[in-house]
C-alpha cells in the first residue's frame, strides 16, 4: 500500500493545529475586546442631549445638591429627573434669553417634556433600586463617578452583572458613612477594610448571601 501522507503532512498538520488555536484565541480575544469596548459598554462616551447640561457648572461650580434635581433618589427605585419647571426656577432669571436654553423654555411654555438620552441604562429584566443603596451608604460617586467634574454626563461603569456582584459580594469595600452619600469628593480611607466592616454592621447591610441571590436583581 502506497504512503497516504507524505512527510510534509506532518508540517501541514502542525500548522493547522496551531492555526486553529490562534484562530480560536483570536476570536475569543476579539469577542472580549468588543464586549468591554466603550462602543458596547458606552463607558466614557458622552451622549448628545437636547440641552448641553453641565453637572460641572451646576454641581461643581454652583454647589447644587443632587436632590434638588434628582428628587426621588432617596425615596424610590427611580432617581428622578428634573422637570423643565425645575430648570426654570433658576433660568427664568439666570440666562433667561440664552439660545441653548430655548428647548427648556419651549418645553415649559407648551408643557411638553424634554427627552433626555439615557446615560445609565440597565436591561428591563434587571431590578434596580436607588433608595436602598442611598439608605445603606452607597454613594452616588461609587457608581456614577465624579459627576461634578463632567461637562457632559457619561458612563463610568459597565453596568455588567459582574460589576453589581463585585459589590454585593463585598459591600465593605465600598460602603461609606450615610452623610457622605452625596459627597462627590469622598475617597475610601486607607483603613476602608476596618471602617467598611463597621459600617456594614452599623447600616445593617445584609451579608447573609441574599444580595447575590439571582432573585434580588432578576425578580
Amino acid at each position: 500500500m502506497a504512503q497516504l501522507f507524505s512527510p510534509r503532512a506532518n508540517i501541514y498538520s502542525r500548522v493547522l493545529i496551531v492555526g486553529v488555536l490562534i484562530l480560536i484565541g483570536g476570536a475569543g480575544w476579539a469577542t472580549s475586546a468588543i464586549f468591554w469596548s466603550p462602543s458596547t459598554t458606552y463607558v466614557n462616551v458622552p451622549l448628545d442631549q437636547p440641552v448641553p447640561f453641565s453637572h460641572k457648572h451646576h454641581v461643581g461650580d454652583d454647589g447644587i445638591d443632587c436632590r434638588y434635581c434628582h428628587t426621588s433618589v432617596e425615596k424610590s427605585r427611580f432617581a428622578g429627573m428634573p422637570t423643565s419647571e425645575t430648570c426654570m426656577s433658576c433660568h427664568s432669571q439666570i440666562f433667561p434669553d440664552a439660545p441653548v436654553l430655548a428647548p427648556v423654555r419651549q418645553s415649559f411654555a407648551t408643557n411638553t417634556p424634554l427627552k433626555w438620552n439615557r446615560v445609565y441604562d440597565l436591561p428591563d429584566y434587571v431590578w434596580f433600586d436607588h433608595s436602598i443603596h442611598a439608605a445603606k451608604g452607597i454613594g452616588c460617586s461609587t457608581c456614577h463617578g465624579r459627576v461634578d467634574q463632567m461637562p457632559v454626563t457619561w458612563r463610568t461603569t459597565t453596568l455588567y452583572m459582574k460589576w453589581c456582584l463585585d459589590c454585593h459580594r463585598e459591600p465593605q469595600k465600598f460602603v461609606r458613612p450615610r452623610d457622605k452619600v452625596f459627597d462627590m469628593a469622598w475617597e475610601p480611607p486607607r483603613d476602608q477594610h476596618a471602617q467598611g466592616a463597621k459600617l456594614v454592621a452599623a447600616h445593617k447591610i445584609d451579608i447573609s448571601g441574599r444580595l447575590t441571590n439571582c432573585g434580588s436583581c432578576h425578580q
Partner: protein, 302 residues
Amino acid sequence: MNEFASGASEWPSDLSRREFLRLSGATVALAGLGACTKQPIEKIVPHAKQPPEMIPGKPLHFASATTFNGYAQGILVTSREGRPIKIEGNPDHPASLGATTIWAQADLLDLYDPDRAKTVMHGDQPSTWNDFLRDVDLALQAQQPTGGAGIRILSESFTSPTLQAQLQVLLQKFPRARIDVWNPIAPDESPLRYDLSKARVIVALDSDFLFMHPAALRRARDFASSRRANENAAMSRLYVAEPTPTITGSTSQRAIFARSRRNSLVASASCRWVKEVSRLPPLTPGFARPPRICSRTETRAL
C-alpha cells in the same frame, strides 16, 4: 376585545408540518442573534411640570369611584407612571367595604380598550374639542327661539349631584328640552339601604341583591354576617322568587321560579311565610331543614 390580529389563531392551510418546523427552527436560531446586539439608546422623559402627589418610580394610590347603575362604589386605584394598573375596593366606603365587583375590576380593561375613542370624531374624520363645542353652540342657538323643544338628552341612570345640577341649569335655559333616563339591562332598584345584618327573614322577589345591585357588596357582607352561626343566636333565612337562577337564589334557603309579573302574588303570600318562619326554632348549620314556604299547589299557581 381581541388582542390578536384577525386570523392569527387559525392554522394556515398551505403550511405543511415540515415547513412549520423549518420556519420555527429558523426563528429560534435568529432569536439567539438578538443577544449579539448592544442596547439601543433609550430616553428619560420627565414631566414638564411635576404633579405634586407623584413620586416617580413609586406607585400612586388614590381613591376614586366607579358606578353601577348610576350609584357610586368606592375604589382604590394603583397607578404607575400615570397608568392605572390595579383596582381594589375602598374599605372606608359604605358601598364597597374593601371589596369590588367583577365590573369594577373590568374597568381597567375598559380603560385600555383599543376600541375606546381617542379623539373627537366628526363623522369618520378626527376633529377637535373646539370644533365640537362650536358645532354644539350653533345647534343650541337654533333651539333658542323654541325654548329647546327640539332637544332630547338620553342618559343612563345617574346619581351624580354635579351632573344633576348641570342638567338643571340646562333646563332653566331650555325649559322645553327633555331628559330621558333609561337603563337597558339592570332593573330599577330602590336606593334605600336595608341593613341586612339585622334582618332575620329576607324575602327577595326577583331581586338579585347579592350580585346585580349597586349595594350588592355591602349587602353580601351584611347578609354573610347574619349567617355566621357562632356569632348569631339565630341565622337569618332567605327566600327567593325569581324568573331565572341567580347568585341570590342559589344562596337562599329556598328559591322558587316565578315569572316576574307574578311578584305581587308572591309578595302577598310572603307575609304569611314571614310570620310562619319567624316562629320557627333557629336553624342549625348542617342540620338545615328549611320549611317549604309554599305548598305544591301554590307553587304551581305562580
